[in-house]
Structure formats: structure tokens, C-alpha cells
Symmetry: C2
Subunit: 335 residues, 2 copies
Amino acid sequence: MKPTVTLTEVAAKAGVSIATASRALSGKPRVSREMIERVRTVAAELGYRVDPIARALREGSSRLVGMIVPGLDIPYFAQLVAALEEELNRAGFELLLADSHGFIEEEVRRLRVFGDRRVDGIIIVPADRTASIQSLANIPAGFPTVEVDRATDRPVADFVGVDNTRGMELLFEHLSERQVASVAFAGADDASTNGVERWECFNRLAGRHGMEVSATYRGDFSTQSGAAAAEHLLQTGPLPDAIVCGSDQIAVGLISRLHKHGYGVPGDVLVTGFDGGELADIFLPTLTTVLQPISSIAADAVSLLVSRMEGGTGTIRRSLLAPTLQLGESTGTIS
Amino acid sequence: MKPTVTLTEVAAKAGVSIATASRALSGKPRVSREMIERVRTVAAELGYRVDPIARALREGSSRLVGMIVPGLDIPYFAQLVAALEEELNRAGFELLLADSHGFIEEEVRRLRVFGDRRVDGIIIVPADRTASIQSLANIPAGFPTVEVDRATDRPVADFVGVDNTRGMELLFEHLSERQVASVAFAGADDASTNGVERWECFNRLAGRHGMEVSATYRGDFSTQSGAAAAEHLLQTGPLPDAIVCGSDQIAVGLISRLHKHGYGVPGDVLVTGFDGGELADIFLPTLTTVLQPISSIAADAVSLLVSRMEGGTGTIRRSLLAPTLQLGESTGTIS
DNA sequence: AACGAGTGCGGAAACGTTTACACACTCTTT
DNA sequence: AAAGAGTGTGTAAACGTTTCCGCACTCGTT
């Protein structure tokens, strides 16, 4: 699978030096109009395509972007990767994908490989809010990097993610309309900024809307965690009017478990999710959730990355994108 | 993000030529024991790591494996990618990921880029049973390639996937035990081998078990298709005893839609899925489905690929892995 | 008429490896 | 004692680009 036709051959056939051929093809100045024309034609005839490896060696850049996620099998991350891959491709980059499985050591290891491979930029969903700061410290300062979905505590790179505050506000407005007086929280622990922020927003907004907080459970974003939350809530007392969950996965895990214990949603308790996507639409009941603007996140992340790669310097940016409320049956029949 | 320390520096510090240094590090013969020791120590001290780009240019291989899937946002493919990424990494390869979105043109375009990038192998889930033969024709004969999950009609590369026949047999044995007398099918069209095979198996096995086939619907593997199937079945007459679906997505889409029309599962009709995974476990009702041996598929695919890369020649292989039956509530309460 | 600036092109170096080849040396074999 | 077979090491070429630099030439300006 070696390059069939090299620049040397193109140059030879066009009767010019490889220097001129290179300039003609790459659109660099100091080449005459007709020369450009001639070389281009020959190149097209021969089906020449520049060898990315040779170019990378010479230029020190590869038109490759490395991405690290903590768990590809998590639907939300899969969607994120899908959106980013498309966006990167549109911008002319290939995607080098790695899964950290949530381990810091894996994260640093894969980041190192990315460095060796001379990726032009890095997209990362940090495994841990604090520990990942160390992983990212291995990246040279100013290297095009963007954190997606979750941020690190100290702003060490550009960040693009959903506006958790706005999302929770939308949810509480809705719950308020539904006359909810008591709420419980089933979310994630402090390992991720999303875990922290959604939790803080929950408390603040429950207070602001005068709702009583009956119980809280914090694990991770998985369905198993949702099930565990259900058990916890059932043990600590009577169910509240509504349960706010940190992700759709948690919500369905929780609903599923409540169901096993004979409690129905929205009959016995209202439930909300966070993320949106296919799961929310097809689950029974369908989920009232906060719909993440995934394509916007992807587009924003890539454009941020590209601007950095083009030398765009300046202070670290933080881009929070507004989500939308998606109504489902889990907070009552849709009117 | 350039390599900080090169082989030249290591050689200089060790007081040897770069040739010897290279041989010492790569474990090639014709170097003395103590020299290997010396160079290795110096390399470690300096934190030297070989530059994959320079090596790729020289050797013509990159320790990169390209993978193409038709839709990363499809949960099953996401899981497959996750499993393969892990397996590849274990074998010392990085994953270059591309999404064809099911389009042949995208497929050939991305394959071409893979070629330019000198990937050492290709893993592909063909977009189309027949059209993808042409895409794959662009790959030089004998180039390490493996089709996963779906095969092309003509065997043009090694294939690893689930044993559809076995899977469907497991399902029908189960349905037979449940005294099912009439069945309907909601599966995918002829674009993929899985679509074809599961359909053929369904017909064959329904016949063998003496079940009446009430209706059939064939779209794609999505939940939308499942919903459409539900509508179709409801229109064509009374519901059968059981509905066999071509994927879990179809199953949940179908159940969801049946629910909207007031029909319950397993109360009014039994439903089976195909694939297994989180969705099947948490849906209400949980799904009786055929659990794909994803890790085995991934392991097999990579080992097949690696053996080809090591020069393993020989006839094209076809590896069908046995799935297992996973019981859920959708075919009746679990005893 | 001489000069400087600008333009078009080619030669060759450089990116960091791996490896073919040559050389020197040590044993073993005749 | 000469030849042959290893063994350890170094020199240099090669992979395919991009680009620095130098040369030749054409203008427009003094």
C-alpha cells in the first residue's frame, strides 16, 4: 500500500524539478501561471496524491487530531465522537481515537503516543476533574487542545460543553409548572465537572423554587448507578414528587428499578434525565430531559481547535452551549 | 510537539553510530550484549522514543489500523469500535477511525486516505452487501483487511461476525418452548448480510417449527424502522403470538409503538431482539435477545488481521462466532 | 548604462529512521 | 599459515516531502 506515484515522477514527466513541482501543487508563490497549470495536469493524469507521511516528517505536522474519551461504549460519548469525526473530516483532518477507560495512566500514555505521532491537535474528555490536570500538563503549553463535555478544575485548555446551569433551570421551570414540591437527586460524584455542576445547580434551584430536597444519591453516570439510586431512595423514605437525574442513563436505570419494586413513572413519581438522544425517545416512558446540542458542541470544538492550530493565540476560552428542554412522558402525559 | 530527543543524540551520547544505536534498540542481530545494554540505558536516561513518522516513511508501515463503520452513533457499532480499539491497542496499534455514514462514496474516499496514510491493516463494516465489493476492490490484493459484523457477497476479505443461524435457532427453540404458534418478522432489508441471513433463518426456522408466519416487515436496523414495523403489523391483521426482530433497536422501537396503540409486551405479544447489550437490560420490558460475543469478535478480528500483517497468506477465512441466548421479560416473565 | 528589485526555476539539504554494504577483527578449519 | 566463517561496528543511502539558497533573467528606475 505504498504510494504508487511520487512527486519525483510527476516532476520528471512535467519536465521540471521537484522543487517547482512541489511549489506548483501546494500553491506556494514564485511559480509561473502556466507552470502551475502544467504540473497540475500531469499530477492529475498520473493520479498523484501527496504522501502524508513524508510531509509530516518534513513539516512536523500530520493533519491528524487525537481524541481521548473515557468509555466509547457510553452512548453519549459515542455520539460525541461521531459528531466530532464528521466535523474534523470536513476540516480536513483524520481522527486518531483512544479510549482511556477512565484511567489517568491510560490517559497520559495515549497522550504521549499522540505526541509521538505528531497530531496537530487534541480533543479530550478528561477522565477526572483534578487528576487529568496532570495528564494535560504533559502537553506543551499552547499546543492546540480542547476539552469537551467535561472540564478540568483549573482552566488548562479551551473548553466546550453544555451549559449545565441553563439546562437545570429549564428542568426546574418545568417541574415547577408541574407543581412539584419535593425533589430528590440522582447524579454523579465529584469526579467530573458535570457531576459537580449539576449537583450544585440542583441544590440552588431546589432552594430557589422552594422545593424540599428529600434525598440525594451520587454515583456515576451509568444505568447501574441509577438502579443503585433507586434502591437508596426507596430505603430513605417515601418517594418525592420528582427525581432529577444527572443523565438519561441514570434515569432509565432508576425507572427500571423502581418499576421492579412496583412503582410507576410518572404515576408514582416524576423523573427527569439529562443528555437527550435516542434512549430518551424510545424508553417507556419517554424521558423529559435536557437535550445536549451535540452538533454545536462538535462544531465549536473543532473551530476552536482549528483557530489554535492556525496560530490563534490568546487566553483560554470556555464555551458553554445552551441546551433545550425535551418533554417526555416521564414528567406526566404530554399535553 | 516535535520529538525532543532523536536517535542521533542517543547515539552521540552513547558514543556509537546511529546504525548501531538503531540496531541496539530495535533488537536486531549483530550487536554485542554490552552495546545493547549501553544504548538502552542512554536512551532511557534521555527519554528517547522512536519517531513513528520517520519510521513509517522508511519502512512503509505505520502501526496504524484504519477502521470504517457505517454510523458511529449506532450503539452496536460503538461497542464494536470500543472493543476493537482496546484489542488493537493491546497489539500495539493505533486506531484511525472513519464513519462512512452508509455511503459507498464516503467508503472509497476514506479507504483511499487510509492507503495514503500507510495503515498496516483495515477493519471495515461494509456499508452495502454488494456495492462495497467495489470499494474493497481499491485495496491491493492480499492487503490485511477484515470485514466485521457484515460481510460482502463475494468473499473479498477475511470476515468475522456472529453466527446468525445459531442465534436464530436459539431464539426459535425458546419461542417453541413458549408454545408460540404464529410469528411475524421485523428486520432489515437486503443491504446487509445480517439483514439477509436473519430473514432467511427466520423463514426456515418458522417452517421447521411449524409456526405460521403472519406478517413481515423489512426496513433497516433502527428504532424508527421498528416503529414502522409496528404500524405495518397492526394494519395487516391481528397480532401473532410473537414478533422476531432483527435488532434490539428494532425491538424497542416496535414495542414502544405497540405501547402507544395500547398493546403490551409480553402481555399481548412476545417480542425478541438481536444484539444484546445495555439497551436490552434496561428497557421495560427487558428484552429476550441474542447476545453478540463482541469481545470475541474483536479479539478474533484483530488476531486475524495481525496474522495477515505478519505475512500469513492463504485462503480467505470466514469466522462465525456463536452467540448466546439472553432471556428477558419480553417473551414472558422469567421463571 | 548601470543598478536594484522582483520573478521563475533548480540544486541540495533537511526531517529521523532503517538497512545494505563495507570493513576490521576473532575464531575455527584445512 | 592461509582461508573461510562468523561477529561487531560504521558509512551512507534511502523513504518523499518542503524549503533555503543561489542563479539567471526581466523590468523599471536612476
